[in-house]
C-alpha cells in the first residue's frame, strides 16, 4: 500500500522537524487520550495489488457469470450495449479524477460536457432547462415532488400506482420526511393511469402529480390532457430516456418537471448503482431546481467559457433554505450519457429506439402465441418491456429458465400480480436469443 503514499521516513523526519515536533504521535495530541486508547484495529493485513486483484476476482466469481446467461431483466435497470468509445473516454483521468468544477478556468472540460449534457437532456425531454444530474431516477422523482412543493407551496401529491415500486418507496420516505400527503392513483384495465381517478383528486390543495412512462409494467402512458386536468398543480413525469428516441416527449404534453433514470445511456447495470438521475424543468421553475448547472459566459476578453451558475439555489450558499441538499451527484455517469447521446446522435437514438421496439414486439408476439401464455395488458402500447401472464408461477418458470441459461425476467407476484412476468428487451438480444427464450418457455411451462 505504500505505493499510494510517497513519504519516506526521511521525508517525514524533515517535515516533523520543520513543524517543530518530534514524533508523529504529537500530531494527534489534540485527540483525547481515552479516544485513542479505545481504538481497535480491524485485523486486516495489507495486500499487494496482485493479491487484491486475485481476491476481488475471486469474490466476483461468486456471482453468476454474465457471459453465461441471456438476460431479459429490466425493471428500472437495463443491459444496453456500451459503446467502446464511451468506456474509453470514461477512463481519461483528467475527467474522472477531478471534482465538481468549482474553479471554472481549470475545469472547462467538465463544464463543457455538462453544458452539452443539459442541452441533450432538454432536447430529449422537450424541456427548457436541465441540471447536471441527480442520484438516480427514483430520488430525482422525489426531488421533483419537493421542488413542486416549493413552487406551489401545496402539500398534497398524486402518485401513480404504476410507478416503479421502489420509486414509490422513495417517494413515501421523502414525503414523510417533508410532511407531504400522498394519494395513489390506480391504473385502469389497460395498465395505464386511471385518468378519471386522477381528475377526481384534483383540488386546490394539490401540489402535483407523479407519473412514469413507460410505467413499471412497460406500458406507455398517454399524457395528453393531463396537464390541463391538473391546472395549477405540477405535472412531474419520469421517463426512460431511450424511449424518447421515438416517443413524444413529456415537454410537448406540458410537463412541468421531467426526470428519468439515465443509467441506460452508456452506464453498466453495476448491480443497480451508480445510476443517473435526469432532471429537467420549465424555464419558469429554474430557480427552484436542485442540482448543479453549467452556464455559458465569457471572460474579460469576450472568450466563451462555462461556469457553475445559479449557485444561490444550492446548499453551500443558501444552506437550510437551499432547493436541495445535493452536493456530490452522479457526474461521471452523466458524462457517459453525454458521450452516448453524442455517439448515437440524432439519427442513432431513433434507430435504436425503433430496433428495441421491434425486438420487444416480436418477442411479445411469440410468447403470447405459446399455449398458456398471454400478454397481461394486450391492448396497452409498450416500448421495451411487457408483462406476460404465465401458466405456472413465475418463480418456478424463472428457476427452470436459469438452468437453461436465461434470466427470464422479473417476477411480479411479490408486487401483487399473480402469475405475471415482466420481460425486458434491449438491442443486445439477438433474434436467436429471443427465439431461444420462446423455445425454453415452451419447454419449461409444460
Amino acid at each position: 500500500m505504500s505505493e499510494f503514499i510517497p513519504h519516506t521516513p526521511e521525508d517525514q523526519r524533515a517535515m516533523l522537524q520543520a513543524i517543530g515536533l518530534r514524533s508523529i504521535e504529537e500530531l494527534f495530541a489534540d485527540i483525547p487520550d481515552e479516544i485513542l486508547k479505545r481504538y481497535a484495529p480491524l485485523g486486516l493485513k495489507p495486500l499487494s495489488e496482485l493479491e487484491v486483484k486475485q481476491l476481488l476476482t475471486q469474490i466476483a466469481s461468486e456471482n453468476l457469470d454474465p457471459t453465461r446467461y441471456v438476460s431479459f431483466l429490466g425493471g428500472g435497470v437495463y443491459d444496453h450495449y456500451i459503446p467502446s468509445v464511451v468506456s474509453h473516454l470514461m477512463l481519461r483521468s483528467e475527467f474522472f479524477t477531478s471534482y465538481t468544477p468549482y474553479q471554472a478556468e481549470a475545469s472547462q472540460g467538465t463544464l463543457t460536457w455538462m453544458f452539452e449534457f443539459q442541452t441533450m437532456i432538454c432536447e430529449l425531454m422537450g424541456m427548457d432547462v436541465a441540471n447536471a444530474s441527480m442520484y438516480d431516477g427514483g430520488s430525482a422523482l422525489a426531488e421533483a415532488m419537493l421542488m413542486a412543493r416549493n413552487i406551489t407551496e401545496k402539500k398534497r401529491f398524486l402518485v401513480a400506482r404504476s410507478l416503479h415500486p421502489h420509486y414509490r418507496q422513495i417517494i413515501n420516505t421523502y414525503a414523510w420526511a417533508a410532511g407531504l400527503e400522498l394519494i395513489e392513483i390506480p391504473y385502469d384495465s389497460n395498465g395505464q393511469l386511471d385518468k378519471g381517478s386522477l381528475k377526481a383528486h384534483v383540488t386546490n390543495e394539490l401540489g402535483g402529480a407523479l407519473v412514469q412512462t413507460p410505467n413499471f409494467f412497460g406500458i406507455i402512458e398517454d399524457l395528453s390532457n393531463l396537464k390541463s386536468t391538473l391546472g395549477e398543480a405540477l405535472l412531474c413525469v419520469s421517463v426512460h430516456p431511450i424511449s424518447l428516441g421515438i416517443l413524444r416527449p413529456p415537454g410537448e404534453f406540458g410537463a412541468d418537471i421531467v426526470v428519468g433514470e439515465g443509467q441506460v445511456l452508456g452506464n453498466a447495470p453495476n448491480f443497480g448503482g451508480p445510476l443517473l438521475g435526469l432532471f429537467a424543468c420549465k424555464q419558469a421553475h429554474l430557480r427552484k431546481m436542485p442540482g448543479r448547472i453549467s452556464g455559458r459566459t465569457t471572460d474579460a476578453q469576450g472568450r466563451v467559457g462555462y461556469i457553475l451558475t445559479l449557485q444561490a439555489r444550492e446548499q453551500h450558499i443558501r444552506r437550510a433554505k437551499a432547493t436541495s441538499n445535493i452536493c456530490t451527484n452522479q457526474a461521471l455517469c452523466a458524462f457517459a450519457a453525454t458521450l452516448y447521446l453524442g455517439l448515437l446522435g440524432k439519427r442513432g437514438l431513433r434507430r435504436l429506439a425503433e430496433l428495441i421496439t421491434q425486438k420487444a414486439h416480436y418477442l411479445a408476439y411469440q410468447i403470447q402465441s405459446l399455449r398458456g401464455f398471454s400478454l397481461k395488458w394486450p391492448k396497452a402500447p409498450f416500448f421495451n418491456e411487457f408483462a406476460v401472464q404465465t401458466p405456472i408461477p413465475p418463480a418456478k418458470l424463472l428457476e427452470r429458465l436459469r438452468d437453461r441459461g436465461y434470466l427470464g425476467g422479473l417476477d411480479l407476484e411479490p408486487y401483487g400480480h399473480k402469475r405475471t412476468l415482466l420481460i425486458a428487451v434491449t438491442e443486445k438480444r439477438t433474434r436467436e436469443e429471443l427465439d431461444g427464450l420462446v423455445a425454453a418457455l415452451k419447454e419449461v411451462s409444460r
Binding site: E34, Y39, L64, S139, C327, A331, T357
Partner: protein
C-alpha cells in the same frame, strides 16, 4: 480548440458515431406498434458527428480539465487523493459491472459478500454496530441520518417536541440543508475563539426540543473538536442524537473511531477517505453507520449473512423505507473495498498520519505569509484567510493565480466563519517535493500581490479562457445551446480546427516563441 466549443459545433447533418445492427427479425412500421399520437414528430437535436470527431472533441476537453492526475489538488474538505487504478479494474470486473439488481441473491453472492464485508469494515472504522450502504453521497447519508432520528422520535411519540437540529456555524452547507428537508428546525451554534463549538452557547440551546446535533470532527477548520466528549454527553443527556459528518475522516482513520466520541450516526464519504474517484462531481457513496438504538430504522434492504450465505433483509418494520432505487452505488463500494483491503490496518494509520503531517507542515511554512485565524495543531487541512495580503486582493485572486502555477486552487470562502477563507487539504498522497512547490507558489503569490497586484486580479493567464464572469452567467443564464443553434452551428466550416495546441490560431507574427504548452 476554440474557447467554448461544444460537440454541437462539430459534425454535419447525416453523420453519426455509432453504427447499430440492422433488424434481424421481421419489422413492422412503428405506427402499427405504438399509437401515432404517442410518437415523437421531430427528432431531438442531438449531435451528428463521426467517431473521430467525437473522440477528438473530448480528448481536447480532457486537456483543459484539471484532475488529480494533472497535479496537486488541495481542495479543502474534498480529500482529493490519488485514485488507485486497481480500483478501476476491480470495479469493472464483468461479474460486478454487468450484474443486474434483480438477478437475485443466489446469483449475487459475490456482490453481497463484498457489501457485507465492506459494511463490517466500515462499522469497525466507525466504531458502530449497524450500517446501510444505500446513500449515494455524503449529503444523501446526512438526509438518511436525519430521517433515522426523526423516525426514532416518531416511534417514541416525541416527534412533535423534538424539532431542532443543532449544528456549528462552521458546518458544511449540506448539513443544514439535510436537516431542513427532513423537516427539522436548524439552529446554528457559534464557534468560539478556538474555532470550536462554543460550549456555553451550545448549553444554552440544549433542551428537550433538541433532536440532535450534527458535528464534523475534525471540523471544517481542520481542528479536532476538543470538547467532543463533553458535547456528545451533553446531547445524550438531553435525549438527542449525535451525528458525525464523516467528510474529514481521513485525518483520524486508523487511529480514532467516531463511535468512541459518543457519536450515534456516522456517514462516510467513500469518495474522500476511501479514494474512489470524484468523477467530476460524483458518483460517490455515503454509507451510514449507527448505534443499536437507531439500527431498526435503517432503510431496506440491509445485507446480512447466515451460515456463509449472504442475503438482503427486507423485513424491517420500523425502517424509514428507501432512498435509492436499489442498493446504493455498488461500483463505488467495490472501489472502496479494494482500497481498504490494500491498505490494511497499517495503511489506514499511514493515511491519517501523512495527511495530518502534510497539513501541519504547510501550515507552519505558510504561517509567516498568510493570516492564520486559528493557529493550532490542525488535522488534515488548514484554513487561512486571504485577507490583508494587499489592497483590493481577494482570496479569489489568490486561488486563480495558483492555477497559473500549475496547481488546483484550494477551497475558497468556506468555512463561512473565516472571512476570505482559503481551505487547504494536501492529502497524504502529495509528495514532499510537490508540497514544497505548492508552498513556494503560495509565497510567490504574496510577493506578487504587493508588487504586481494586477497579475492576481486578472488571473488565471495560462488557461484557454481567462477569469469567467459569474455575474453575467447568473444574470442572463444560458444553460443550454439554444434550440436554433444546435443545427445552424454545424454548417460553420471553422468548427474543426484542431485542438493541438489548444490555441485559437497561430501566434501573430510579432509574437516571440512561447514556452507555453
Amino acid at each position: 480548440m476554440r474557447p467554448g466549443e461544444t460537440i454541437f459545433d462539430r459534425g454535419a447533418p447525416g453523420r453519426y458515431g455509432l453504427s447499430l445492427p440492422e433488424p434481424d427479425l421481421p419489422s413492422r412500421p412503428i405506427e402499427e406498434l405504438i399509437p401515432k399520437e404517442l410518437l415523437r414528430r421531430d427528432d431531438p437535436e442531438l449531435p451528428e458527428v463521426s467517431q473521430i470527431e467525437l473522440v477528438r472533441h473530448y480528448t481536447a476537453l480532457a486537456h483543459i480539465n484539471f484532475g488529480v492526475d494533472t497535479g496537486p489538488y488541495p481542495l479543502g474538505s474534498c480529500t482529493m487523493k490519488y485514485n488507485p487504478r486497481i480500483s478501476e479494474e476491480t470495479a469493472r470486473l464483468p461479474q460486478f459491472a454487468l450484474s443486474h439488481p434483480w438477478q437475485g441473491e443466489t446469483l449475487s453472492q459475490g456482490n453481497l459478500r463484498l457489501m457485507y464485508e465492506l459494511g463490517e469494515l466500515l462499522k469497525k472504522i466507525a466504531g458502530l454496530s449497524e450500517i446501510s450502504l444505500q446513500p449515494a453521497a455524503g449529503a444523501h447519508g446526512e438526509f438518511l441520518g436525519m430521517l433515522l432520528i426523526k423516525r426514532y422520535f416518531e416511534d417514541q411519540g416525541e416527534l412533535a417536541r423534538r424539532r431542532k437540529i443543532l449544528l456549528p456555524d462552521s458546518a458544511h452547507g449540506t448539513n443544514p440543508a439535510s436537516a431542513h428537508i427532513a423537516g427539522f428546525e436548524v439552529i446554528e451554534i457559534p464557534s468560539d475563539a478556538r474555532g470550536m463549538v462554543d460550549l456555553e452557547a451550545l448549553r444554552k440551546n440544549v433542551d428537550e426540543s433538541v433532536a440532535g446535533i450534527m458535528l464534523t470532527v475534525p471540523n471544517t477548520l481542520g481542528l479536532f473538536e476538543e470538547d467532543i466528549l463533553d458535547i456528545t454527553e451533553l446531547i445524550h443527556e438531553a435525549g438527542g442524537f449525535c451525528y458525525f459528518d464523516g467528510a474529514n475522516l481521513n485525518s483520524i482513520v486508523g487511529r480514532a473511531r467516531p463511535g468512541d466520541f459518543g457519536v450515534d450516526i456516522v456517514h462516510f464519504n467513500l469518495h474522500k477517505t476511501f479514494s474512489t474517484p470524484h468523477g467530476g462531481g460524483g458518483p460517490g457513496a455515503g454509507p451510514v453507520a449507527v448505534g443499536e438504538k437507531l439500527a431498526p430504522y435503517l432503510p431496506v434492504p440491509l445485507v446480512k449473512q447466515q451460515d456463509g450465505r449472504f442475503y438482503l433483509e427486507y423485513d424491517r418494520p420500523k425502517s424509514v423505507g428507501r432512498l435509492h432505487a436499489f442498493y446504493g452505488n455498488f461500483a463505488v463500494l467495490v472501489r472502496a473495498y479494494t482500497y481498504i483491503r490494500m491498505l490494511g490496518d497499517e495503511g489506514l494509520r499511514r493515511v491519517s498520519e501523512n495527511a495530518v503531517l502534510n497539513a501541519n507542515y504547510l501550515k507552519e511554512r505558510l504561517k509567516p505569509f498568510y493570516k492564520l485565524p486559528y493557529d493550532r495543531l490542525c488535522k488534515h487541512e488548514v484554513v487561512f484567510s486571504g485577507k490583508g495580503l494587499a489592497e483590493g486582493i481577494h482570496t479569489l485572486d489568490i486561488a486563480k493565480r495558483l492555477i497559473d502555477y500549475g496547481f488546483h486552487p484550494p477551497t475558497v470562502y468556506f468555512p463561512l466563519i473565516v472571512p476570505e477563507a482559503l481551505m487547504i487539504e494536501p492529502t497524504e498522497t502529495v509528495s514532499k517535493e510537490e508540497l514544497d512547490a505548492l508552498i513556494d507558489a503560495f509565497i510567490q503569490i504574496v510577493c506578487e500581490a504587493k508588487e504586481h497586484p494586477e497579475l492576481l486580479k486578472t488571473a488565471p493567464h495560462t488557461t484557454l479562457v481567462g477569469r469567467l464572469d459569474d455575474v453575467k452567467a447568473a444574470r442572463q443564464p444560458v444553460l443550454r445551446i439554444p434550440k436554433a443553434a444546435t443545427r445552424s452551428l454545424r454548417s460553420r466550416p471553422s468548427s474543426a480546427r484542431s485542438s493541438y495546441p489548444p490555441s485559437e490560431g497561430p501566434p501573430a507574427p510579432s509574437r516571440p516563441p512561447s514556452s507555453l504548452l
